[in-house]
Symmetry: C2
Subunit: 300 residues, 2 copies
DNA sequence: TGACGAGACTTAGATTATCTCAGTCTTGCG
DNA sequence: CGCAAGACTGAGATAATCTAAGTCTCGTCA
């Protein structure tokens, strides 16, 4: 007795993923960002899912969306499903012999902290392949396929290893440093900023007791810290430097610190590993190596 | 420090689903059938996933495929992920007020057993919406969105309710029955078969001690039991009838049973509910009602 | 009170992803 | 040796998904 009409099946998996993200973020815009698509795409996916289910999942408010009770009730299990799915994929990836150790890092950390250490890392772990991906926000290591993440964090989760506290202080080309005697002299200099850390100058100036007449937000802001650093090296102004990032330049004399005062920061360079145990055979060893390498500044 | 290149994300969810099905079935062809696509589509999805992961998931043998150890190791968690995903969707569907009770059934059960009971069911449960989907194989109720399934099964799981044992016996139009005195007379009659139950005549004839000269596989086979039944009602031959399906016709005299002997079958009509508890508020009551309605044959 | 901004919606059209189809290849089996 | 089963391939069709650009609604702020 055959007769097999295409059975009604699950809704589109992509629509479910969009819903999960939107529900977790409570925002279509944020979900779209997370998924790497436009908000309109999320709108359509959610609508499609609502049509399939025959129920409303979000209440559309003027300002954003709100989960319906039914959607809220189903969310935890749905999220756990995607967590488990991602975990399964990690299992599969783990089978890849000698695969690259995937590191996610803040762009400035990738360029200025990790990159200089790579030669020594390669020497310490012969044959190790490393892939580095720069991103602004720490990835969800339960979900995304990275073996290690390097970010500045104030509160490190238990699976993480936070390095020694970091400090900031003004740095500049030696020629500029020579004409700076006290913080008031900064009024005549160009202050260089990183776009994300725009407040660092204000914090340092306040903490150092500098005259309030200095505009802590004047001067150019760079979208990449490395660009701001290049500008400082070229003598274009005074940069608020992070010791962990500009230490080697200070030691080598390419940069000078006109003022002694260092402001210790609450966020520390942190090594994060996936919560479900190391996903790459050498993660633990590499983490330990990187942790101890933090004290011995790389040469050059 | 922006700069956000599209991050590497999870592999295609559809590819994962295809892999899960293929791995579970250990066959691309069966997986394709389950997913309702062609085998070529599965081939391509698996290849895409293998390329993404950088590992081989199946060993291609001349005759079919074999899971690699890595794939086999990851399968259980992956399957559970999809189970949980489906479960989440059920949660969402459950929020739909007054939604239809989705019943999956063997086509012959849907047409000949369930259909005649629907009027009384509607009367017993006013306002209840019912949707019926016919299919050859019981759906995986962990995965597919049905609230109730009706199939002939030998071993019912604990969540199921098996009805009284069923029996088969030859039935035909009364005019034909009058010229049949003993089983040997069947040699001169056309035997009607259901394509799926092609062996039922052989089992009954052997059990009834009929002459071995009768060819138990002669005569036309119908792809739908209801078609074979129509042929029998029209006097085209003798059908091996299931009591649960042709009972009303016997009672009404439209069909006659030329021989007394009934062979009790090992598979019984079984009501299956999803393992995670009733997904529809009235499932339990409907199951009970259907179970007790089995004894009271519907009229007409 | 009115301009603005945030956030979601809509539609058309473009872009991808996915599927089918038809033919091929290999191998086990009669 | 021919056939059947099961998987592969590549081209082309189809369907799913995304983007883009313009709307709409409401808060917020001047």
């Amino acid at each position: 007795m055959p007769l097999a009409p295409p059975r009604p099946r699950l809704p589109s998996l992509n629509a479910l993923r969009a819903f999960e993200a939107a529900a977790r973020c409570e925002s279509f815009t944020k979900a779209a960002e997370e998924l790497g698509v436009t908000a309109g795409a999320v709108t359509q996916q959610i609508r499609q899912l609502e049509a399939w289910l025959g129920i409303r999942l979000f209440d559309r408010l003027a300002q954003g969306v709100a989960l319906t009770p039914a959607a809220r009730a189903a969310l935890p299990r749905l999220s756990r499903s995607f967590d488990m799915l991602a975990h399964s994929v990690q299992d599969l990836r783990a089978a890849h012999e000698n695969r690259a150790l995937a590191i996610a890092a803040l762009p400035c950390i990738a360029q200025l902290w990790l990159s200089p250490r790579l030669p020594a890392l390669q020497q310490a772990f012969p044959g190790l392949l490393v892939s580095i991906t720069a991103m602004e926000q720490p990835p969800d290591l339960k979900r995304e396929p990275y073996d290690l993440a390097l970010f500045y964090l104030e509160d490190a989760p238990t699976t993480a290893q936070a390095l020694d506290p970091d400090a900031i202080l003004p740095v500049c080309a030696p020629a500029i440093a020579r004409r700076l005697e006290n913080t008031a002299d900064l009024a005549n200099e160009t202050l260089l900023h990183d776009a994300v850390w725009r407040d660092d100058w204000a914090r340092w100036l306040a903490s150092a007791g500098a005259p309030k007449t200095i505009d802590p937000h004047g001067g150019p802001a760079f979208s990449l810290y490395a660009l701001a650093l290049d500008a400082a090296l070229a003598g274009a102004g005074v940069l608020m430097g992070r010791m962990s990032l500009i230490g080697p330049h200070l030691e080598a004399g390419r940069l000078a610190a006109p003022f002694e005062y260092r402001l210790t920061m609450p966020d520390r360079l942190t090594l994060l590993a996936p919560p479900d145990g190391p996903s790459h055979p050498r993660v633990a060893a590499v983490m330990e190596w990187l942790g101890s390498s933090a004290n011995s500044q790389p040469s050059s």
